[in-house]
């Protein structure tokens, strides 16, 4: 909507005195009236996405400066998306390069197969990674994910990709030791390609449309596979109705992981203390916006739960019952604000009462990942987002 009229007020608005807000409103009311009564320019017709070939420096170091100036880069070195490299990534799909996979917020950028492949080329990804990225882009465009808010919020959230099924070992997507860390090409470049697509096609440029106050390091790349081989339970995609032999990607609008170190507990009843204690925090969006916090259990912690006879549903239920925040741990201003957003859980309650880390135990997500060691992680979300699982085309 290029004709949409905008009026700006001085930042900030959140948490200011109502008198100040009134003064700010008084200051802009004339401009609001003018904008409402002026005849807007007619909307421009949306043009079909067409790939444009540009000339870039052949020298790989000079190409970095070029890519940064064009806004194509995440700051780390990128590889030139030459027509040959993009064609190699598309492979047999090359004739379908103009196929539209999704429209991505906030720019309503059209993610054609070719545009997706060009960003895989920038990220250093391989042809085999394309189906995973395409499925992830479909998932991100699902309205339940709320991509426009995820892309433009001041919150640090970014898509976390969880890959399930046989494609993960086939592509070498790490589910074991250091699964959320460095050192595995597939994890690094698949997550990075998704980020570059969100920036270059979705149009979320840092500090401009992407207004993250701080962001977090997962915004470079945030991708792992579930360690299905070492999980005592059904994996995430099976829990969501897909077949075990199917491959899927799940996207979550996630914060950075917070580690849960527990070397001492040897039973489920004991282990739940550290997990619930780490998950129950006052600064998380999930506590008042109803998101789906993710518990990533290291295989040894998962084994401890299973050896105590707990199902995955038991783990979710007990963490939810125990990960509680007393209302007097929230400031009076936040209690009032959260009471407007979620009156059922925050209005008319005693200060000594507690709220759970999210709205229901079914909203908690549990996966198994990582290698040897007694660590797990809690990954909160943006809150106003639902994770989406999509099958990866063979």
């Amino acid at each position: 909507m290029p004709h949409l009229q905008l009026v700006a007020v001085t930042h900030p608005l959140g948490g200011i005195d109502p008198k100040l807000a009134r003064a700010k409103a008084d200051g802009v009311v004339d401009r609001v009236i003018a904008a409402l009564t002026r005849d807007p320019a007619p909307p421009e017709a949306a043009s079909a996405p067409v790939a444009v070939t540009v000339t870039a420096p052949a020298d790989i170091d000079l190409f970095q400066d070029f890519a940064l100036a064009e806004g194509w880069s995440d700051g780390m070195p990128v590889l030139p998306p030459t027509p040959e490299r993009v064609a190699r990534i598309l492979g047999p799909l090359a004739p379908r390069g103009a196929d539209v996979i999704a429209t991505l917020a906030p720019r309503r950028g059209v993610a054609t197969l070719e545009a997706i492949a060009a960003n895989l080329a920038l990220a250093g990804a391989l042809p085999g990674h394309l189906p995973v990225v395409v499925a992830a882009i479909r998932a991100l465009a699902d309205p339940r994910f709320n991509l426009n808010a995820i892309q433009t919020t001041t919150h640090p959230c970014t898509p976390l990709l969880i890959v399930n099924g046989p494609i993960a070992p086939r592509l070498g997507i790490n589910a074991g030791a250091n699964a959320l860390g460095q050192g595995h090409r597939a994890n690094a470049v698949i997550g990075r390609a998704v980020r570059l697509i969100l920036q270059n096609v979705g149009g979320a440029r840092p500090g401009r449309e992407d207004r993250a106050t701080l962001g977090h390091p997962g915004k470079y790349s945030y991708c792992l596979a579930e360690n299905e081989a070492e999980s005592p339970w059904a994996p995430l995609h099976v829990e969501r109705g897909f077949g075990a032999a199917e491959s899927c990607v799940t996207v979550c609008g996630s914060e950075a992981p917070h580690n849960v170190n527990d070397h001492g507990s040897t039973s489920a009843e004991a282990l739940v203390f550290a997990l619930a204690g780490t998950a129950a925090t006052t600064g998380s969006n999930d506590v008042y916006l109803g998101g789906e916090p993710l518990v990533v259990l290291g295989p040894e912690h998962a084994r401890t739960f299973a050896d105590s006879g707990w199902s995955k549903a038991d783990v979710k239920r007990v963490i939810w019952e125990r990960a509680r925040v007393r209302l007097d741990r929230f400031s009076p201003e936040n209690r009032e604000r959260f009471g407007v957003l979620d009156p059922e859980r925050f209005r008319g309650r005693l200060l000594a009462e507690e709220v759970a880390l999210c709205a229901s135990p079914d909203d908690l997500m549990v996966i198994v990942a990582g290698g040897p060691g007694k660590h797990s992680a809690i990954i909160p979300t943006f809150g106003a987002t639902r994770s989406v699982t999509v099958a990866i085309a063979r």
Partner: protein, 75 residues
């Protein structure tokens, strides 16, 4: 493990024990500290969840190897 390597370098006999999943890490550390053939002992992973009795049994089982390594040294 690094403590064991440094003790050996200071001529104090040592016996390092790691769980088997950390063997590759132990060998890499030995190479980095200039003792690529450094001898150390392995026991099955994991140990953190073992009961006191199970841990005692593990210790009893590996004790002869510890004594042997301490007496025989790294040569």
């Amino acid at each position: 493990m690094l403590d064991g390597i440094l003790l050996e370098k200071a001529s104090v006999p040592s016996a390092s024990i790691v769980t088997d999943v950390f063997e590759v890490t132990g060998r890499a550390m030995a190479r980095q500290w200039g003792v690529p053939t450094y001898k150390f002992l392995l026991m099955p992973h994991p140990i953190a969840n073992l009961t006191e009795a199970e841990l005692d049994r593990r210790a009893r089982e590996i004790a002869p190897e510890v004594v042997k390594l301490l007496l025989q040294g790294q040569e």
